[in-house]
């Protein structure tokens, strides 16, 4: 049995960095991530950098959780993705979500964009 997905949260400036520490963002981890995003947005966090630099495998469930958070924030906030690489970036391009999310190579650039 896989362990529950691990998330790390850290403030930088007026942005919150949420980092998924697991290598797979799939149907197991996606509901937990979505639930955490719901709580954070409910607490008033509206500028979020989602760091997926540790993720090596993403499927439609992971993508759905991220899209859900983006839509939940709507016009009231911003959610950007940082650290997507390799096959994860390929899936974002394949599904054309690279046009939906603002993508940054690292959290520094993501936080800078959120501070605009």
């Amino acid at each position: 049995m896989k362990a529950s997905p691990r998330l790390e949260e850290q403030f930088e400036g007026n942005a919150l960095i949420v980092k998924l520490l697991d290598s797979r963002f799939d149907a197991v981890s996606a509901p937990v991530v979505r639930e955490r995003f719901a709580a954070l947005i409910g607490e008033g966090h509206h500028r979020i950098a989602f760091d997926i630099s540790e993720v090596e495998f993403i499927d439609s469930s992971g993508l759905s959780a991220a899209v859900w958070a983006l839509k939940r924030l709507g016009d009231d906030g911003k959610l950007v993705i940082s650290g997507a690489r390799g096959s994860v970036m390929s899936v974002l391009r394949l599904t054309r979500l690279d046009k939906v999310f603002r993508l940054f190579p690292n959290t520094g650039m993501a936080v800078a964009a959120l501070s605009d």
Partner: protein
């Protein structure tokens, strides 16, 4: 390349899907195929398994999902076998094609991903089981 086949079987729950995915990645890497192709095959099968667990079995753990992997000289095929109710495969494929043009959709992109990554997808109803076969042709060197 080696030819042959193997059937993998798991209890129908999301927590087991990565086992099949990683096994498939290793199996097809031995053919060999590129790391990118191995990943794409793994992802396509994971998406088919996600659908089987959620939509065919409705998260009933007592059911099993099988994946028959077949290595042939010019192709690799994966047949995902579930015990769910029959469904309108053609309608599902049409919906997937439409969804591909709506990237911001929240759910329902799994079949579209499979369509994009595999060369053929076939559906058969055999007895009380759905057989969904994903085929990827291998490029000749």
């Amino acid at each position: 390349m080696p030819t042959g086949g193997i059937t993998l079987s798991i209890e129908s729950q999301f927590e087991n899907i990565f086992l099949v995915g990683q096994a498939i990645n290793k199996i097809v890497s031995s053919i060999p195929v590129s790391e990118k192709t191995a990943f794409e095959m793994e992802l396509a099968v994971v998406e088919a398994l996600n659908n089987a667990v959620e939509h065919a079995h409705h998260l009933q753990r007592a059911k099993r999902v099988k994946v028959r992997v077949s290595l042939e000289s010019d192709l690799v095929s994966f047949t995902v076998i579930d015990q769910g109710a029959p469904f309108d495969f053609e309608a599902a494929m049409r919906t997937a094609a439409i969804m591909e043009n709506v990237p911001e959709v929240e759910r329902g992109r799994g079949l579209g991903i499979i369509r994009s990554l595999m060369d053929e997808i076939k559906y058969e109803r055999k007895g009380k089981a759905n057989h969904i076969t994903l085929i990827r042709y291998l490029k000749r060197s």
